[in-house]
Symmetry: C2
Subunit: 198 residues, 2 copies
């Protein structure tokens, strides 16, 4: 997560970290549109001009942060432990890992995903989850099952990935009233209707 590129100056790492931390802090206190470069620099205890040495503007900074978020999550759900043990329906432990990771960094994810008006992040995560849902739809025998019921493949994917991201966001907003494991199991139940039905 904060693994620095060997050839990057420590100062760069430090000020970027301070800027990102300040951003999350401010987001806990106010809406995005109220976050100015002025406030951000002040909170991060860096000079305002220094901000522009790293990011073009605040939307640019948010995009960079979203990139990093996606990188982190990708490494979680693409990691060896997740893709475990050659089991064909692999989605179960994968979802647990994902939810546990989010829960572990819930301060960040709550403010970034579950706060109003920070769509860049949700957009990106939705995209990631869509590819995930698509992939596992192809892998399992669910695809033929839903086809047999007259459900369009793409609609099923839209439906499934929207349901996932939306539920995760609401779960975060409600301060995670269920454990990651429990929620992952619930997702499995909600999904496995299909297979059971066929």
């Amino acid at each position: 997560m904060d693994q620095a590129n060997p050839r990057t100056d420590l100062r760069i790492v430090r000020t970027r970290r301070m800027l990102r931390d300040a951003f999350v802090e401010l987001l806990e206190e106010m809406e995005v549109e109220k976050i100015t470069v002025n406030r951000l620099a002040e909170r991060a205890t860096i000079n305002r001009v220094t901000f522009y040495l790293h990011y073009r503007d605040i939307p640019d900074m948010m995009e960079k942060m979203a990139d990093e978020m996606i990188e982190d999550i990708s490494s979680i759900i693409g990691s060896p432990e997740s893709q475990s043990a050659a089991s064909p329906d692999v989605e179960w432990p994968l979802m647990v890992n994902l939810l546990e990771y989010i829960a572990k960094h819930s301060r960040f994810y709550k403010v970034i995903l579950a706060t109003k008006r920070t769509t860049v992040f949700t957009e990106r995560l939705l995209k990631l989850l869509t590819s995930l849902v698509t992939e596992r739809l192809e892998r399992s025998d669910t695809e033929s099952a839903i086809a047999a019921m007259g459900i369009k493949r793409d609609i099923a994917i839209w439906y499934g990935s929207s349901a996932l991201i939306g539920t995760i966001i609401t779960w975060l907003r409600n301060d995670m009233p269920y454990t990651p494991l429990f929620l992952a199991k619930q997702f499995a139940l909600l999904r496995h209707y299909h297979q059971m039905k066929s």
Copy 2:
């Protein structure tokens, strides 16, 4: 929709309509954060100061617009034709009406729901859909069915309403490749697993 309150001045109605139209226009051309009161007033061909006679700032204007949107949609899904004929699972024609209404005003809804960074609107609609999902969960026998499967009531609601709004948004983003009727049927299929299973 543009039914004016009898005691409101025609000029008020006119400038508000011009402002809202200008807002939608600008949103088609740029991100929300680039929309300034300056640009808005210029596009609406009104004086900048006049804007402040109607709204506190742009977020305030967006909230007011969201209020109106919810009012409109509520009247659609709460109308006599929708709540038709005492049928116990009433959700089917209701969803057709909703999707048809959105399709009819798709220029507005596409930009307002399916464009980046306009979360106020999606938030409100999600809320509305959540109450809808809750209501019909209570009405039908789905509730006992999902309980029997070990699925938590609130999680099922989060899941279902997120799936609905997310699918509608993606449907809009893709320029409505299916008819409202077809999509409504697909929703019914995706939902009725539950009843069928039990």
